[in-house]
């Protein structure tokens, strides 16, 4: 049923756009002048549905709400292909964050809230603020589910940062400083992340962020007004609204060029982690108040679309309309235009939907006990409106109605159908071993020093990995970060984030599958059982059929791999229009996070070798496929196939590794990824150096004994797999457990000499460490 617009009485100062009176060209011109990204057909459909000229406030509201960022109009249909249900899924991707079941402790079921987003475009324009507000936003997504925020992670893709590339270097440094400044100050440990440097990100870095929270499953707060919530009060909490984020919602949906980056300065979002720290702690107090009183409420983060977007979605998700009075909003500046107050994206704000009986107490917690107005200028909790039975979304400003639209029309799904071009078929696998004139020695050092391989410590040591005191494994000490979030419990979770742009450039579908496989493999390598996934789809323009085709292939790859591994996605995000001003898109960059569960954290396995006389096993197969490998990029090999994912074998391998870990048979473990097996082994041997222990070396058997491919593929191929260390005393039990699994082969032993010995080569571990540990020190001193 169409709602009539009869409620709408035009006030004397109302500004509107006479859509019906303008031809297409004039309409486009006027829309451009207003800075609206809405298309002409979209403008006409709004005017038609409202049966009148839309007000400026309404135009900006639809502009935000129907932007790619809010509506997912180019990707929503595709996202339906992703599996989202499973035994460990407590809440799928319908709200601000998803929830996975971690386990039970003292009769309570605990869930891990997980959210995954991108903050790519803002980080390109103002790296420090962009990256910091990325952390700020994702933390609110987790907080508003009623959870205690316990960890963040950050997958990063920077441009080429060779010497002389000052802009790219400044962006990389600014991003890392921004993540550090925000995450460290709010006291949420940075548990995982990855980082690639590639010239194809020169004009468009990727800053993805993941946040995790801990919640009792019985105490989840949803991002909607509860069913009985008619007349619930909308209580806005946080920073005073200013003009700083106006235009943000449209901003992230348009490709960037330098001039635009300049003119977008109004869209700079200013982070305030100090205020956030206090809001988080005040909100925890509110959570316990609501629990004590048995009150059900709605809570949602203000992101794209500001007050309007958040209040509309919070109410409409509960089946209600909303009335909001913009005059009651706490503002930082006088005379802000109503559209700025309505859709501006000032940071550090959240919106509660609460029953009247509790509002005063909640206001008191924020404003007095936690003294928000003292912490930031005019920050506070303030009533701004209510949920209504009428299915309208209504805004008032200076006593006038400035917006009055059917709420389902505003928040309902808009979908674009777009032409798709399938990606070029990837190369086939070679039948012969690689012939290469370079020496293994020379290549090994070059690979260890490669920017995608070398130590990330100079970067991640900017981040607090251990605040809250519950970190079990910080970054760098194993393949996934591990945390024990519940005091008094042995339950722990593991987190890894992955996605390889070198594969993305070659084969978008396989890149997505490998992102899933690698994140799962990393979680398995610490002995944790994978329980769920999130994804962030970073791609080029959906208006370019080929770039859109990469997105389609990527979603198919994500869907297929997750089904194969029996896992679901509980949260995700799509970031489009990533590329250079000349239209050249970034490499297809599906980035996946995998969450794993350890019922007993003592079964956790770390990366460094532990003792001399251990046996090293490779769990996995080597393929004659170097596509996407560091070796292929160093040797500029074209026509290399991307390794296949032999799902049945890999699932069996993972089951075996988990069984070995839980039986205490693994002394250390490390997966094979960027740089290949030799890098894996070298990194395992570096651990003793880092711990200032006596070094442990490795003596490898000849590759012919454990690899079906040639020596270069065996040493540096990136087909996946996990290397595990088994103590001599455990070998029999380990091999018995492996049983008929053919892809478990002994490849060598650990030795007292500080060497990595292979055939006629023997590398000093200290030399390898020198090549590996230093390259990023000069970028992140």
């Amino acid at each position: 049923m169409l709602c009539s617009s009869s409620n709408f009485r035009r006030g004397p100062s109302l500004r509107d756009l006479k859509v019906a009176e303008l031809d297409d060209e004039a309409l486009r011109e006027q829309a451009d002048a207003l800075g609206l990204a809405l298309r002409v057909d979209e403008l006409r459909s709004i005017a038609q549905r409202l049966e009148r000229a839309p007000s400026f406030v309404e135009l900006y509201a639809f502009d935000a709400q129907w932007s790619e960022h809010c509506s997912y109009k180019s990707s929503r249909a595709l996202l339906g292909r992703l599996p989202t249900a499973g035994p460990d899924v407590v809440l799928g991707p319908a709200e601000d964050a998803g929830i996975l079941h971690l386990g039970e402790h003292e009769g309570e079921r605990y869930g891990i809230v997980i959210a995954h987003e991108s903050h790519n475009h803002p980080s390109q324009v103002v790296p420090f603020e962009g990256a910091a507000t990325g952390i700020g936003g994702i933390v609110r997504d987790v907080l508003c589910m009623g959870a205690e925020v316990v960890a963040v992670a950050d997958p990063l893709r920077f441009g080429s940062v060779d010497s002389g590339r000052e802009h790219q270097r400044a962006v990389a440094r600014g991003v890392v400083d921004g993540i550090a400044a925000y995450g460290n100050a709010i006291g949420v440990p940075n548990l995982a992340g990855d980082c690639y440097f590639d010239g194809d990100f020169d004009d468009n870095v990727l800053v993805n962020v993941v946040a995790l929270g801990l919640v009792k499953e019985s105490e989840v707060i949803h991002s909607r007004v509860p069913r009985h919530g008619e007349n619930f009060v909308l209580l806005l909490v946080g920073k005073a609204t200013d003009a700083s984020g106006f235009g943000g919602a449209s901003f992230s949906s348009v490709a960037l060029d330098a001039q635009e980056a300049q003119s977008n300065k109004g869209a700079v979002q200013v982070p305030d982690p100090f205020l956030k720290n206090v809001i988080m702690r005040a909100s925890y107090r509110v959570f316990s108040l609501l629990r004590e009183r048995g009150i059900e409420a709605g809570f949602k983060d203000l992101g794209a679309g500001g007050i309007m977007g958040c209040s509309a979605e919070l109410c409409s998700a509960g089946g209600f309309g909303a009335e909001v009075d913009l005059d009651s909003v706490n503002v930082a500046l006088d005379r802000l235009l109503p559209e700025v107050i309505a859709v501006g994206e000032t940071q550090e704000r959240l919106l509660w939907a609460l029953p009247e009986e509790i509002v005063d107490e909640v206001e008191r917690i924020y404003n007095e006990e936690f003294s928000l107005p003292q912490v930031a200028q005019n920050a506070r909790a303030v009533r701004i409106g209510r949920a209504t039975a009428a299915q309208r979304y209504q805004l008032r400003h200076l006593g006038e109605i400035v917006m009055d639209v059917p709420i389902d029309f505003l928040t309902g799904s808009v979908r674009d159908t777009l032409p798709v071009e399938a990606p070029t078929p990837p190369p086939m696998r070679r039948e012969q071993d690689l012939h290469c004139k370079r020496s293994l020695d020379d290549l090994f050092h070059q690979i260890l020093a490669h920017r995608d391989v070398c130590s990330r410590a100079p970067l991640y040591r900017h981040y607090d990995a251990v605040v809250r005191g519950r970190t079990v494994i910080p970054r760098g000490e194993a393949d996934a970060g591990v945390m024990a979030p519940i005091r008094g419990s042995r339950l722990a979770f593991a987190l890894s984030v992955d996605g390889n742009p070198r594969i993305g450039r070659l084969d978008p579908q396989r890149a997505a599958e490998h992102a899933v496989y690698e994140s799962i493999r990393n979680v398995v390598a610490v002995g944790a059982e994978p329980i769920g996934l999130t994804d962030c789809l970073n791609y080029g323009s959906p208006r370019d059929a080929r770039q859109y085709g990469e997105l389609v292939a990527g979603v198919d790859g994500l869907a297929r791999a997750a089904r194969d591994f029996g896992l679901a996605y509980v949260s995700g995000n799509v970031s489009l229009y990533n590329g250079a001003p000349n239209g050249h898109a970034i490499p297809a960059s599906p980035i996946v996070a995998c969450l794993g569960r350890l019922t007993d954290l003592s079964h956790c396995v770390t990366l460094p070798l532990k003792e001399i006389g251990s046996h090293l096993y490779l769990v996995g197969e080597t393929q004659r496929a170097l596509g996407g490998s560091v070796l292929a990029s160093i040797l500029a090999l074209a026509d290399e196939a991307v390794p296949e994912i032999d799902i049945e074998r890999i699932v069996a391998e993972h089951r075996f590794v988990l069984a070995a870990a839980s039986n205490g048979l693994l002394r250390s473990a490390h997966d094979i990824s960027d740089g290949g097996l030799f890098v894996t082994l070298a990194e395992m041997s570096f651990g003793a150096l880092a711990d200032r222990r006596a070094p442990i070396g490795i003596d490898l058997d000849g590759y012919a004994g454990w690899s079906a491919a040639g020596r270069f593929e065996s040493a540096f191929g990136e087909s996946g797999g996990i290397v595990v260390e088994v103590a001599d005393r455990d070998v029999e039990r380990f091999e018995e457990l492996a049983g008929a699994l053919e892809s478990v082969r002994e490849i060598g032993t650990t030795i007292a000499e500080p060497l990595l010995a292979f055939e006629d080569e023997a590398w000093e571990i200290a030399d390898l460490h020198r090549s590996w540990s230093r390259p990023l020190e000069e970028l992140f001193p």
Binding site: I186, G187, F274, N277, H462, V466, G469, R693
Partner: protein, 255 residues
């Protein structure tokens, strides 16, 4: 009766829970006291200022918090002989408040934990060794000689700086309770990851009842924080850096 320890929360503090938990596990009756409850501080036997970013380190780390009403109670308590331990941001606050090294006037600092030599935040594992006699600082008195205490350096402003003559005085007169050490127990100044003067990781006052320690022993304080170093079979048992907290609680029990 257990000693009552207040764990102070300023706006921006972020390490209050693990600090409280470890004090409890080490036998104290520790409670978190929030800045709006400053008046209740007089009822506590001892104070711990945990890590974080009080006022987000604005102006200087610890500068604003040193003037907070909560510090009035801490200063009064310290002058009356109560034990006060500040960790990381808490240590910075104690220096800004003039309680450590305490050689000048209150709230007129003579030294500071200031910007790291590398100019940014660092987060890394460190080892600490007490380099003064056991009797010099009551809070650290129960620690065995030469014990290496694991901790995390996690700060952007952890480099002790002051006028050179004052630094020499602090060194000579036993104010530098802990220094950064290597696995062999050496404490050369260059082992301080942020360039701290004299390799200093912690300062006390003349009376030895105040300890301002930059690295976090409480973040490597249970077996699960460092599975490869596990002591005993229970992964949830205190270990590692908890020895300093045990020493703190022991000192309180002897009062």
């Amino acid at each position: 009766m257990k000693a009552r320890v207040a764990v102070l929360v300023f706006p921006g503090t972020n390490s209050e829970e693990e600090t409280r938990d470890l004090l409890v596990d080490c036998g104290a009756d520790a409670r978190i006291v929030h800045w709006s409850e400053a008046a209740s501080l007089v009822y506590y036997d001892a104070f711990v200022l945990p890590g974080g970013f009080a006022y987000e380190d604005r102006i200087r780390a610890g500068a604003i918090a040193a003037h907070d009403a909560m510090l009035d109670a801490v200063i009064e308590g310290a002058q009356a002989g109560k034990y006060v331990m500040g960790i990381c941001n808490g240590a910075q606050i104690l220096l800004e408040a003039g309680l450590a090294p305490g050689t000048g006037e209150i709230r007129r600092p003579t030294a500071a934990f200031t910007h790291n030599a590398q100019g940014h935040f660092i987060c890394e594992r460190v080892l600490l060794r007490r380099t003064v006699p056991a009797t010099r600082c009551a809070i650290a008195a129960a620690l065995p000689e030469n014990l290496l205490i694991p901790a995390w350096a996690a700060h952007a402003q952890g480099r002790l700086a002051a006028a050179p003559a004052h630094l020499d005085e602090l060194d000579r007169d036993g104010y530098i309770v802990f220094r950064y050490a290597d696995a062999a127990g050496a404490t050369d100044a260059h082992l301080a990851p942020q360039g701290s003067a004299h390799g200093a990781a912690a300062l006390t006052n003349r009376e030895g009842n105040v300890l301002a320690i930059m690295p976090h022993p409480e973040r490597d304080a249970w077996n699960f924080n460092h599975l490869d170093r596990r002591e005993g079979s229970d992964p949830l048992a205190p270990s590692g850096g908890s020895v300093l907290f045990k020493s703190f609680v022991t000192a309180l029990e002897r009062l």
